[in-house]
Symmetry: C2
């Protein structure tokens, strides 16, 4: 073990599920890291595939918008089941790619071994046509606690955890959680040096979707203003970045997941780098 591999450069990589994300390129980079004695931790969600699968299974996706402007998936029991299947499909596809590269990946949902635990939202207040509507049968929540002991034990033994939603509520119910924010919480509680958030854009764009408007560096203190620039799903990524940095992560990088060497490039500072 060199000083570099002692854990001080521990990295959490969040892999987006949008079109064009190159899982083979990501897997190549993870193998490159483990060859050098670094054991990263991966996190992914499954939004895009959930949408397709939900259509195919006759339970089309629905979304709700909170009064604060965040959009979430409407997650009734059937939607939760479909979401779980989609996440698992991506998870196994990643684990297989990593195993084929001699990386001993271990895919886990947040609910497994109480890796991700948090509160389920009792009610969701959404705004529909200007009126507030209350939804009670939704399985959505957020991650507060992370089973760092289990994850550290696995990584010490050389396993690369590949984490996915759902998490588990304090009452033992599966809950849909935002994977970006779950990755941020995990990075903070595992004292990660860097959180890399890969998606299908080059980073934070000042004028979405104009990729030439990429913001290359930004200070954590200036990030809050970006929440207003960020659109749609990027809003939650920005919120996740804020939470990671507030939790002690040194650096968050929003980077392009569509290119060769997406993780290495991100670690070298390509994309939007946010320092604490």
């Amino acid at each position: 073990m060199t000083a570099e591999s002692s854990g001080s450069l521990f990295t959490v990589v969040k892999i987006g599920g949008g079109a064009g994300i190159a899982l083979d390129h990501v897997s190549d980079d993870i193998a490159w890291m483990t060859d050098r004695g670094h054991v990263p931790l991966l996190v992914h969600g499954g939004s895009a595939l959930t949408n397709r699968l939900a259509e195919q299974l006759g339970h089309p996706p629905e979304f709700v918008t909170s009064s604060s402007g965040f959009t979430s998936r409407r997650t009734d029991r059937r939607a939760l089941e479909i979401f779980q299947m989609a996440c698992a499909s991506i998870n196994k596809s990643l684990v297989e790619r990593l195993q084929a590269r001699d990386v001993n990946a271990i895919g886990l949902a947040g609910m497994d071994g109480q890796i991700w635990v948090g509160p389920r939202k009792d009610v969701i207040r959404t705004v529909q046509n200007g009126r507030t509507v209350v939804i009670r049968d939704d399985y959505t929540g957020r991650v507060e606690q992370v089973n760092t002991l289990l994850l550290e034990t696995l990584m010490r033994d050389g396993y690369v955890p590949v984490l996915m939603p759902p998490a588990i509520s304090y009452d033992g119910e599966a809950i849909n959680v935002d994977a970006d924010r779950a990755a941020a919480r995990t990075a903070a509680l595992l004292h990660a040096d860097t959180l890399v958030i890969l998606s299908n854009v080059p980073g934070l764009l000042r004028h979405f979707p104009d990729e030439s408007s990429l913001i290359r560096k930004i200070r954590a203190t200036d990030l809050r203003t970006m929440g207003e620039v960020a659109r749609d799903r990027m809003k939650k990524k920005v919120l996740g970045a804020e939470e990671a940095l507030a939790g002690g992560v040194s650096r968050v990088v929003f980077a392009d997941g569509r290119v060769p060497h997406p993780v290495r490039r991100a670690l070298e500072g390509e994309g939007t780098v946010i320092h604490a």
Copy 2:
């Protein structure tokens, strides 16, 4: 820890996926065991749900029969993906039930952490209308090696592993494996005392489906003749039982998974008990 909980009575429970299997009853029994200091290991497949999901997704299930009379799922890449999703859906449904009962379950595919490793079949020779047909793009295999170190580490720390296919081939490919035989291999290599195989019949029936023809006790040496009595999927369960007993498991119990206390009843000898 009492002598009883020292591991000498370690149990592997294989949960069938057929109609009527009561996952809530099974989960109640697992909680009863962990309350008494026993940490069992669970294994399940996903055949029945795979069939339904495959129909819904427009890739209907196909089966092939080998010249020795064993029936297997035809597993091309798409069938493998669907199989993975179905298994994961059952897995998460079990993990959630167990977590709700304060059992710290951890769901894992055999491919995760190289828990189940074995050869992929190069070619499958099937008999169709009396002719031998060779299939090459199939992802089927069997479990030879079990990562007992990982499973023992998890169980020592109080986690209840809930294992499902696919396994991983020596070349790092996901492979569909028979969950009964994978459970048998796992029980043997973990030196389990008892392997309980729950399905939607009361045990081995001399005259299937006449449940009054239940065979209550049988010696391992007489099991081979049962292979001829057993029908369809029961054939592989009998083969699994043979393999478990040959591998050092003291007792295999074929038991009814539809009734209250299915695991406790099996451990008390209800069903078909096969002694080494």
